[in-house]
């Protein structure tokens, strides 16, 4: 924003000491340190980006839609899904675009046969082991990369033993079914559900619960290998964990593994219909921070609340009151005469 403008025009408007006067030139946001430009070639096109830019941003700057699953602007890249891999000339392996920084003279291919093969198989691996039915993102990528998860056989039936899996131990099957993470839904509170049969282990919820936003650390990745899973300590139910129900994990979940009970109930009843939903941005009433809420309304009822990830106040995060504390406007009709006091 242009702060200097304000100074010059309004310098002498101080009339009443209680009417704030324009500020002087001293406090300004320190400018970001100037960054050198580096030139990279993306799919044959040379582009110039500031030093420190990731290949993901470089390819996006070049107008290329590089797929991502575990990447989110507001979180530290963990580069685990590997769907964003690209080919860099001179590199033995493919490199993750989301976290690799552009270097001067890099030659990058985003759609080579190797890249396409990796992306296709990664999606096949996921779709053959995870229920991706509520992830429009994964499904769109599956179409783009002509994915056939059935090449690995029918997926295994749900199992409720995943929380007990021991590191370094598995039972070898005859291979006729593709091992899958299908398991019962964890419904241990009235605000949101954890359906880890839909979890692709992108680590986003762990990051949002942990150092990247909420700093509550109620969940972490437990176990190892195929049995790695998102878990509380000893898989205790959420009410026994450190969870504070901010729902910031739901906000970042790309697959619907974490879901509002309100959304889940509507989906179960078959009445969830995004085409009938409106979303309106407003301000949360519960404190003076001024968090933007996006209210998703279906049939005059709030069905879900989130916040725009690019919002400078929230970065997409809310607290329990903002995300779940809206029920009072909906119970009003029923309890209009009930009231607050006895």
């Amino acid at each position: 924003m242009d702060h200097e403008k304000g100074n010059v025009t309004h310098r002498l408007q101080a009339v009443n000491p209680l009417v704030p006067v324009p500020r002087g030139p001293v406090p300004v946001i320190p400018p970001a340190s100037p960054r050198r430009k580096v030139r990279v070639t993306v799919d044959g096109r040379e582009i110039s980006v500031p030093e420190g830019t990731t290949l993901l941003d470089a390819t996006r700057a070049a107008g290329i839609d590089t797929p991502t699953l575990c990447y989110l602007e507001s979180l530290t890249p963990v580069n685990v899904c590997r769907i964003c891999v690209v080919e860099v000339e001179g590199s033995r392996t493919l490199v993750p675009a989301c976290s690799r920084k552009a270097e001067d003279g890099m030659v990058v291919k985003t759609d080579s046969e190797r890249v396409r093969l990796s992306r296709r198989l990664i999606l096949e691996f996921l779709a053959s082991s995870v229920d991706v039915s509520t992830s429009p993102q994964v499904r769109a990528y599956m179409d783009r990369y002509e994915v056939h998860p059935e090449r690995f056989g029918p997926s295994q039936a749900p199992s409720d033993g995943r929380d007990q899996a021991r590191a370094g131990v598995h039972i070898t099957s005859d291979g006729s079914q593709a091992a899958a993470v299908a398991q019962p839904v964890k419904a241990d509170n009235e605000l949101y559900l954890r359906d880890y049969g839909k979890c692709i282990l992108c680590y986003k919820c762990v990051e949002a619960c942990g150092p990247d936003a909420q700093n509550t650390f109620a969940i972490a990745v437990a176990g190892r290998g195929f049995d790695a899973r998102i878990s509380t300590e000893y898989a205790v139910p959420l009410p026994d964990s450190a969870c504070v129900y901010c729902g910031n994990c739901i906000g970042v979940c790309p697959t619907g593994a974490l879901m509002f009970v309100s959304e889940h109930d509507l989906r179960k009843a078959g009445t969830w219909d995004e085409s009938r939903q409106t979303s309106t941005e407003t301000i949360c009433p519960y404190c003076g921070v001024g968090c933007t809420l996006t209210l998703h309304i279906q049939d005059e009822k709030i069905v879900k609340v989130d916040s725009p990830i690019e919002n400078g106040v929230t970065h997409g995060n809310l607290c329990v009151k903002g995300r779940f504390g809206w029920q009072f406007v909906q119970v009003r009709e029923k309890t209009q005469s009930g009231g607050d006091a006895s």
Binding site: V80, L94, S118, G168, A178, L201, V221, A222, F226, A228
Partner: protein
Amino acid sequence: MVLRVLCGESSSSLLQARVSIFQGKETFVDAHFTKDHPTAAEQQAVDSVLGVPHSGWKGGPRRPDRDGHSAVNGHRLGADRHLLLPVLHAIQARMGWITPAALNYACQRLNVPPAEAFGVASFYGLFSVTPRPPCVLHVCDDIACMTRGVEDLCRSVESQLGPAGSPSLNGKATWLRSPCLGLCERAPAALMSRAGEKPAEKVVAPASPQSLLSKLESFANATIEEPPDRFEASASAPQASQNGHSRLVLLRRVGRMDPASLDDYRAYGGYEALRRALNFGGSWVVREVLNSRLVGRGGAAFPTGKKWDPANQPRYLVCNADESEPGTFKDRVVMEADPYSLIEAITIAGTALGCERGYIYLRGEYPLAGERLSHAIRVARERGYLGTNILGRGVDFDIEMRRGAGAYICGEETALFNSIEGLRGEPRSKPPFPTQVGLFGKPTVVNNVETLVNVLLIVQEGGESYAAMGTLGSTGPKLFCLSGHVARPGVYEVPFGTTLRELIEMGGGVAGSGQLKAVLLGGAAGSFVSPAELDTPLTFEGTRAVGASLGSGVVMLFDDSVDLRKILFRIAAFFRDESCGQCVPCRLGTVRQEELLQRLNHRKPMGSVEAELGLLKEVGQVMRDASICGLGQTASSAIESALRRWQLF
């Protein structure tokens, strides 16, 4: 014993005095802990590593009259996080499993969220997060032991103790199958561990179906302390007990000296290299190592001199002793038989590079090496070879040892950093490389045990004359781990350039049926070669030329009675078990790879066998191309090399 190994090294030197004042139950920031209060035993286990709590906020008694008005260092979570792994070891050794109350208390003490600590505990194969009998028999059923009748052994154990994991001996013991225990020269091997007030570990190798159970019983009921294993050069390093040992350089002390005695070590030339290094100075040492063209012996074959760049101002020197590649045991032999040599080598490297501290990350399954190393560190410190003012030269340097807990992946250098830091042993993305961002985020040099031990030689003989040994691309001597169907398995030291055939002959030739079917070079992440390739010189460049790799120096022989397919299934199962699970290509690729092989095994291919083999290749390529680290990138290597050489399906 485990406790001693852990605490002797870490607690006193590491614990910063924490000044939290207000006494009472600390909760992790605003999170809550479970209501479980630790028993005296649980508390002692944790305190054995951390010392008694200074503050009630850390689990001591509340003294609010004095301290109710202030507290410090609330959020500095992570300051002691690196002690999480030693604490988990202590809990496991005391309680037999990681109990909720003990974990809870440990989290309070360390300011680590319980969910994260659980994530760490459940990452390691040697820890159990569910109740388990105190005594556990780990039977290695990996590929080297498969050549020595491990299936019979397991069947016998199963018939006597019941299915793996079930309690037996009146609930005192249980047994589990284990990946390679690094005892391949004495296959089939087993390792027993006993939790309790006097925890202990005991190696049984070779293990026989007849005697293993009685050994387990007496171990489960034992009250006296015994060493976890006995090192015998004749069994583990046959060259060292033969005539002609004098030609050996790396193994020259093995079997000759008392591994506990510093004076003995000095009598065999020990600590002369350190004196020389301190005399000539760090930059001289670094230059000699560069001139020696020493290449890392851990498996990745990276030039050591390139890592040793003082310009990076390395803060830590880490010795990777997490020797877990199936078929590898050379580092174990060095550490058990000649522990001071490693301590001296680390001291030379650390002081030459100006590092603040050295770390040895030792494989959790190596109890004897652990005892010997911690003893050697303690004695070296007492005698002025470690600590402050080393040899009176005004140089300070010290070494800490950490034990792994059953995770192959922690041999990957960045996973190893995370493991030391008390995080899950998940590899980090590279770049940045360890030389820039390593342990605790600081520039770090990581070297394998054997690599470091070579530095002693370089310092004493000079880089140029060291480089005269071996070949142009592979200088110096090399340790090989000969196992499987060979007459005299063990660690062998040869100059680079020796052919595979010559090495096998040194080992007394092919055992078993006497007809060689295949040789596995470099371990599970390496590749198979056929008898037609026996004249391959054992150098980095020579093996590369036949599409194989030296890896960690594994040379495992299979006679023609072996069903190679079973070996491949075991390798596939190994990678599935040992994948950390972080990235999709490896987490699921290793699963799909095993499933594909099992479909072929059960003759239930989907579509044609050719189509399945094509799909297997695709899976292999994606793991190689898109995995984060070397584990995934090499998880299909041995399997593909076998399928290239033999028509197995």
